[in-house]
Symmetry: C2
Subunit: 429 residues, 2 copies
């Protein structure tokens, strides 16, 4: 690959709860994405606890590695163990000075919060928060979203100091980017286009083959930075390129469409969930689940506004529940077993009928670890999608065997059901 | 706090997909936990892409910081961009040597995998995998769980090189810990006890108050390292201490139980899900969900063996579904609204009846963002738990208003339902 990204960044995530894994860091990945979009190359993310010496060592490491921009998250609170600003000031060789206007601003915020807690010693609280109004001399202050202000310290590298809570960090990063100091630090960046394609029903090795072939057939392939990722049974292909290589990307897409016309379901990054939400407009869907235990219903109702098209669903774990709630013929279960295509079809038709819906999806399978047999091993799952158009109704049925543990089988089955439903609703069978 | 932890470690996580946030790193937090349990102090976690120079810089940084142990994850595959072993060998100043026995072992594994893909050029595959049999001279080889072997390179610091996929890394870390090299590196560690307590129904500030009080009332409190974390509406309190301070922990627990007898639901780290699974033994449960859309049913069926006590559930998103599938009186909905305690009770009784179960949980609420009113704002959720003992049946009903977005309300409601169910089943109402 030939890239000319010339602005480099590093991220320092502080906080003992993050270092020890008790709280998952969400700021590193989020900032990584923001930097990518800006055309800034992220080289290192480092995590440490609340020890000043460790924070300073990480700042020094990143500076020694030659990054142009360092972003820190965390350690801006009013308590004694929140020391990031002090450490950054020392690292940047700047004194800490009290910003009077900022002190008033923080005081107002804190007083507002404190009226909810009568009896709190307001003077003690204000003293603690005065600490938050100390900023490195010459730094640009970022107004607090919570109570903690951030700062941008211009220099080589320029350091952006942000609070730990993502809901505070994110808007404050947006503000930081508009400052002259950050704009100067990233002036030489290379803008990139980024495109996301999603595929389903293709193994990762199949995509690797296609990309290898594209390497020789697509002229200028080396100007595309392609990363692929297998997630929940879907392949995500993210491609980044400088705007002048847009034509190369067009050629890559032609090659991909050529080889995988059926597997590509999204060329604009939209999730299958987005697509299903659109396809269900004006319809009424009901679900009938066994092994997925409600995961499909939960996924369909995740979106705001889903009550417009989701009528409901049934989880029928026992055979009796399949008979009682979905009207499945007990003889069918006796003859074919609860995990069988005829039972899946009967469940889907039962859901249409009981909920008065025009679309139904049924899933019955063996999620394990127990319950498998020689002919129906753990991971065997039957799917049925039923559509009713007036008096007409049709069902499409599939049986799949998938690897993995109980949780994998349940998650994967939910995704397969979403894709089966999608294909049927777009008319691709 | 007074701690005498004297063995320090650092973790280097490699992989462009992890650095860019496309794949969430699960190895850093998992290894952090393992190190804590061993009594080894984790000082830094660093993430970088697949560039050898960046990996080497991070190794150097950690060594300069004086860690005794470095653990790396990722970059052990057969392809050209997997270079961790080579970089570590250079960093440790050891030559790469071909391990013949290892080459045979990898060859056998790969040949086994390849029989599934006829037509693959086996010689090319074997050549690629020979690369994986190159190890630093004098290193201890960790047998592959997938196809990639790990290595332990003794020294100052000792470096443990592990593969990226968690299902491979985890057993290989367990093997690494038993090696003489790692045992020597961590010989001076301080063993710790670790205890986890879980509470529900207490705000974080209430716990902070209690801990502040305990600081003066519990003798030796400073020898306990306490971290608290709010997660899914529950408080998790993890306490670590040297074995000789076990008595201090006992005193802390007495203080906690004193102030929060009702809120502590677990003193052994067990999750409410574990407890519910035990309490449902010999019972038959059914669910009736509206706003949670199947999340409660999915959570109850997450565990292997849950089919012994989960009969099934209904998701009734529309009023008509509540009437048709659960037998809720339409007049009740007209009079009180779908989100009301009478309707929640009727849903729970309907679930008992339709599924022939002896235990039922119903949830009906407004997850938002739309649908809120002045008297029933977004976040209003009604819960009902119904028990049938022979001909007797009883219901317990609660209404809660919770903050947060749609996803928060759905998740939180599921947790509240679990705790309500738990309290009723243990007889605490």
């Amino acid at each position: 690959m030939s890239f000319s990204v010339s602005v480099r960044a590093g991220i320092v995530v502080t906080g003992t709860e993050v270092l020890t894994g008790r709280v998952q860091d969400r700021n590193g990945p989020w900032l990584a994405d923001q930097l990518l979009e800006l055309g800034v190359e992220l080289r290192h993310i480092t995590l440490c606890g609340d020890r000043p010496a460790d924070i300073e060592a990480q700042l020094r490491f990143l500076a020694d590695e030659g990054v142009d921009l360092i972003i820190t998250s965390g350690g801006l609170g009013p308590t004694a163990d929140d020391m990031t600003v002090e450490v950054v000031a020392r690292f940047c060789e700047r004194e800490l000075v009290l910003d009077d206007a900022l002190e008033v601003k923080i005081g107002d915020i804190v007083t507002g919060l404190m009226t909810r807690f009568p009896g709190v010693d307001l003077d003690a609280v204000r003293a603690a928060n005065r600490k938050q109004a100390l900023v490195p001399a010459g730094a640009v202050v970022l107004d607090p979203v919570g109570t903690a202000p951030g700062v941008v310290v211009p220099g080589s590298p320029t350091v952006v100091v942000l609070p730990g809570p993502p809901r505070e960090l994110q808007p404050m990063w947006d503000a930081a980017v508009t400052t002259d100091a950050v704009q100067a630090a990233i002036a030489d960046r290379t803008p990139f286009e980024q495109q996301t394609v999603r595929m389903f029903g293709l193994p990762e090795s199949g995509l690797a083959d296609t990309l290898r072939a594209a390497e020789s057939s697509v002229d200028g392939f080396e100007h595309l930075e392609i990363t692929t990722c297998l997630r929940r049974g879907e392949l995500e292909i993210v491609t980044r390129y400088e705007p002048r290589y847009a034509g190369v990307y067009t050629d890559l897409m032609t090659a991909l469409r050529d080889r995988h016309p059926r597997e590509i379901f999204s060329e604009d990054g939209a999730l299958v969930d987005d697509q299903i939400a659109g396809l269900l407009e004006g319809r009424r869907i009901a679900t009938a689940e066994s092994c997925t235990g409600g995961l499909l219903a939960a996924r369909l109702t995740e979106r705001p506004g889903s009550s417009a098209y989701v009528v409901g669903g049934v989880v029928t774990y026992s055979d009796a529940a399949k008979v009682e709630l979905l009207g499945v013929d007990p003889a069918l279960i006796a003859q074919h077993g609860a995990v069988s295509e005829p039972v899946a079809d009967a469940m889907a038709r039962g859901a249409l009928d009981r909920f008065g819906s025009d679309t139904a999806v049924a899933i019955t399978g063996i999620a394990g670890p127990g319950g498998g047999t020689a002919t129906k091993p753990v991971g065997t799952v039957c799917f049925s999608v039923a559509l009713a158009e007036g008096a007409e109704s049709s069902t499409v049925t599939r049986t799949m065997t998938m690897p993995g543990n109980r949780s994998d089988v349940r998650e994967r089955s939910t995704t397969i059901a979403m894709h089966l439903l999608r294909r049927i609703l777009v008319g691709g069978g």
